[in-house]
């Protein structure tokens, strides 16, 4: 086998590992969400299946899989079947450019296959990684729109229409908020943005340096992933379940999974771009004084920190869901176009202006 073939195989294996781990975490996070929502509303949450209800999600998944696959007679069959897959696919693909740790590992396999294989803690380090995040993330709206249209149901169609309008609108402040980060770090490479945040002993988190952009990004990400208080796509009291109304069994499960993976995806993007990625303040300094066997564990520590941070962000999403009531649709649109977008643009302008002044003072032109 040539080196290229091996590298492609390694990438495919890595992709499948990332995808399956994400789906595994999704099952776990479903339980966390239900438990926490229960606690927030003074209930116990699921506690019957297994110890502390730990097996509840698995039981639900098995139930979902064993249900009869029904396709209603009045739907557009091809689109109806494709739609849930499209929704999940776009959410999963984003994880390809997220760096989970810093160090690459070289496997010394010269004696075995003639060259060493380099293992990177990310699937791909794309030159334009930030654009990839935005581009692939936006493809998720297709699943919802097509699912709603193909169901041939007025409630589904209304849900799909609302969703497409909501997603198109909130993409703008999201993109502009990320743009001010890109202007600051001067790179579109995700790994370099994380590396940039390790400055000042790991304190240069962009959430501190760009608090307004961080807030705008966070709010828009909530809206993009259709989480409460922006869960207009599935307003139960107005639209039954929105675009999901006609779906059942595993296809419904896929839509549910897509929604949660979408939210998880935005959590990891928030952590990567604004909260320092795999790094913690003083982590590098502490690691460098520790004995080398522990230093060799650095990738594991990094991955642990990354997952921990993402979980904290996800728990804040659950907190918001439990405490903020849903917005009305006209409020949602007005909020995006009249507040978020102008503030994001202003923030970008100020950032560019300040950076230009600093560059002028330091003589960097």
């Amino acid at each position: 086998m040539s080196q290229q073939t091996v590298q492609i195989l390694v990438d495919i294996v890595k992709l499948s590992i990332v995808a399956s781990v994400i789906m595994g975490i999704f099952v776990f996070i479903l339980l966390v969400e239900r438990k926490l929502i229960g606690r927030f509303t003074r209930r116990y949450g699921p506690n019957r299946v297994g110890p502390f209800g730990l097996l509840q999600s698995i039981a639900d998944a098995i139930k979902m899989m064993l249900k009869e696959e029904m396709v209603p007679g009045h739907v557009n069959k091809i689109v109806y079947v494709i739609a849930p897959g499209m929704a999940l696919m776009s959410a999963l693909s984003v994880f390809a450019v997220i760096p989970f740790a810093r160090d690459t590992i070289t496997l010394p396999l010269e004696s075995l296959i003639g060259f060493s294989v380099i293992l990177t803690p990310w699937v791909a380090d794309v030159n334009v990684g930030v654009l990839y995040l935005l581009a692939v993330g936006t493809l998720g709206s297709y699943g919802i729109i097509l699912g709603g249209w193909s169901s041939n149901n007025k409630y589904s169609l209304l849900g799909a229409l609302r969703t497409s309008a909501q997603m198109l609108s909130y993409e703008l402040p999201l993109g502009v908020a990320i743009l001010s980060v890109v202007v600051m770090t001067g790179t579109l490479r995700v790994t370099e943005i994380v590396e940039w945040q390790t400055q000042f002993a790991g304190f240069a988190w962009l959430a501190f340096l760009q608090p307004i952009a961080f807030l705008i990004f966070f709010i828009s990400a909530l809206a993009e992933s259709g989480r409460a208080p922006f869960d207009l796509p599935e307003t139960e009291n107005e639209l039954i379940s929105g675009f999901m109304t006609e779906y059942g069994a595993l296809k419904f499960g896929l839509f549910q999974a897509a929604e949660f993976v979408h939210a998880m995806m935005f959590c990891t993007i928030t952590v990567t771009i604004f909260l320092g990625g795999w790094n913690l303040p003083f982590l590098n300094e502490i690691l460098s004084v520790l004995p080398s066997p522990i230093q060799a564990l650095a990738p594991v520590i990094h991955v642990g920190i990354f997952i921990g941070k993402s979980l904290v962000v996800y728990c804040s999403l659950i907190w918001i869901r439990a405490s903020v009531p849903r917005m009305r649709f006209d409020q949602l649109m007005a909020f995006c176009w009249k507040w978020l977008l102008p503030i994001a643009l202003l923030n970008l302008l100020v950032t560019v202006f300040v950076l230009a002044i600093i560059a002028e003072l330091l003589g960097l032109w």
Binding site: Q4, N76, I78, V79, V126, N127, V128, L131, Y132, L134, A135, V136, T138, L139, S141, Y142, I145, L146, W149, S150, L157, A160, L161, S164, A165, M167, L168, E171, T187, L188, R189, D330, Q331, A334, K338
Partner: protein, 182 residues
Amino acid sequence: MELTIFIITAVISVVSALGVIFNKNVVHSAMFLLAHFLTLAVFYFMLNAQFLGMVQILVYAGAIVVLILFVVMLLGEQLGEDIPRWVTPTNGVLVLLALVLLTIVGTAVVEHPTTGAKGDFTPELIQEHGQAEMIGAVLFTDYILSVQLAGILLLVGIVGVIWLARNENLPVIAGDIPTEEV
């Protein structure tokens, strides 16, 4: 390897482009259009132009097709579904125009074949400085006039749309649902 990927992508691209035209269902056409845009992005990636490929997905696949679907859903019943036959005078004129365009483009390509990098921008330089940086540097120095003109064109478009979409009968109180007088 590269040739195999190219042939596969090219076949998908052509088939989906034909699918856009020959499909009688507007939403199916839009989905073929989406597939076509994605294959175009793959072509850009194969030419090592990742920035253009990503912008292709972001703008065309991510926004324009969504807008098309949006319009199709809003107008729903009036669009498509009943196209009686393909051979009409209008379609004949359109085919003729398409052939003329194809001839012009084809002649341009045959007369001015471009091989390899032109100008000061070698692949190594682009690799070193990054795609977006190089494109930005060129756009905002050599081609600044074109960029400004394109910007003005888009602005005119936006203003025009707002003018078309205004509704004089509605009161212009922001964020308020108009209520009837008691």
